[in-house]
């Protein structure tokens, strides 16, 4: 009997924990680049001519940059007409990266979304305002900075966008 209670308590705790996580994280929403849903970048070395006198981290730095690209965030019906916040969540694990170090993403926008930077495991405010329709969109240019020391293959940056009522 005691065992039953213990197992049930653990189960309830887990469910409660998951619910709490969802409540804190907001609701994940669909995001798409337009017109192409995926962007594939060719990395380049930040220091074309590395030098002994450079910081080794600079000599190892790989950069990937996108042009200004339209990003569309799909607003669920429940949030339309409401003041909302959208956060960009960068997963702790990134494909092509050993561990969660060595990656920084910087982006600039045309003013509807917020410009900023983020590293793996971070959650950054990306948009704040009224969702007047089912679509939020802006043009975004991303710069990926990767320390090649931690890069173990082609990298895939898959942020999650989460919406919540303000």
């Amino acid at each position: 009997m005691t065992r039953i209670r213990r197992v049930c308590c653990v189960a309830m705790t887990l469910v409660a924990g998951l619910t709490a996580t969802l409540a804190h994280g907001g609701q994940a929403i669909e995001a798409r680049f337009f017109p192409s849903p995926d962007l594939q970048l060719e990395g380049r070395w930040a220091a074309p001519k590395p030098s002994l006198r450079n910081d080794p981290a600079f000599n190892n730095l790989v950069i990937g940059e996108t042009p200004m690209t339209e990003l569309r965030l799909i607003v669920p019906q429940a949030f339309v007409g409401k003041r909302v916040r959208v956060h960009m969540v960068v997963p702790s694990a990134t494909q092509g990266l050993a561990g969660n170090r060595g990656l920084e993403v910087q982006w600039t926008t045309q003013g509807i979304f917020r410009s900023g930077t983020a590293r793996p495991g971070e959650r950054v405010l990306f948009y704040e305002g009224t969702a007047t329709g089912g679509l939020l969109r802006d043009f975004v240019a991303y710069t990926l900075r990767v320390d090649a020391t931690y890069m173990n293959g082609p990298l895939r940056f898959d942020p999650v966008y989460e919406i919540e009522e303000r």
């Binding site: 887990l14 998951l18 962007l39 002994l52 990767v146 895939r156």
Partner: protein, 202 residues
């Protein structure tokens, strides 16, 4: 004993029921997350490369060859080593592509057999260099000091193993010397080209 066994079985059954509930909850979360498509960015690693910089220490990236000059006045002739000017900075950088194979790089010099002035010749082996670490260098490997091989030709100056980390570098500030241990006919010798090459050895 029997009751305990029965009770235990019932407990296990309920426990399984709870596990199943948790499993369903987790599935719901996974489905929920997977349902939201994310805009995805892919980044291909850059290819590896091998870079060689040779230039005056003050401005190592200056375009064109660097010219080292040795000037002897009459009283100095045959009295021992003369330093050339300027000091030359040489850097060889090997960059392994992320997830790519290790490799070795060789720094080679190709020199003629003699430095000439009309029909007069000074053997290239009368010239040597002393190499020291570059000021402010953050890498430990320094090009070794040496002397040009008699007869000239291609000579291995340094070897760099590009293993482990993506970037490995060797380099140094090289002061060239003329031995000045023999007496040659007066004249203006040279110029003589010595070509340094960085070679990727798989």
């Amino acid at each position: 004993m029997t009751r305990e066994s029965v009770g235990l079985k019932r407990g296990e059954h309920r426990a399984l029921g709870c596990d199943a509930a948790v499993f369903v909850a987790v599935c719901a979360v996974i489905t929920y997350s997977a349902g939201a498509q994310a805009a995805s960015l892919g980044l291909n690693p850059p290819p590896g490369n091998l870079i060689l910089v040779v230039g005056p220490e003050a401005t190592p990236s200056a375009a064109g060859p660097v010219s080292v000059t040795f000037t002897l006045t009459a009283p100095q002739i045959g009295t021992g080593q003369i330093d050339g000017s300027p000091v030359v900075q040489i850097e060889m950088v090997g960059r392994r592509p992320p997830s790519g194979p290790n490799f070795t790089a060789e720094l080679r010099a190709n020199a003629p057999a003699f430095v000439t002035s009309g029909g007069n010749q000074i053997p290239i082996s009368d010239f040597s260099w002393t190499s020291v670490a570059l000021a402010g260098a953050s890498y430990p490997q320094v090009i070794p000091s040496g002397v040009f091989a008699a007869g000239g030709g291609i000579q291995l100056i340094d070897t760099l193993s590009v293993v482990g980390g993506p970037t490995r570098t060797t380099g140094g500030a090289l002061t060239f010397h003329y031995a000045n241990s023999a007496i040659y006919p007066a004249g203006s010798y040279g110029p003589t080209a010595i070509t340094y090459t960085a070679v990727w050895v798989p």
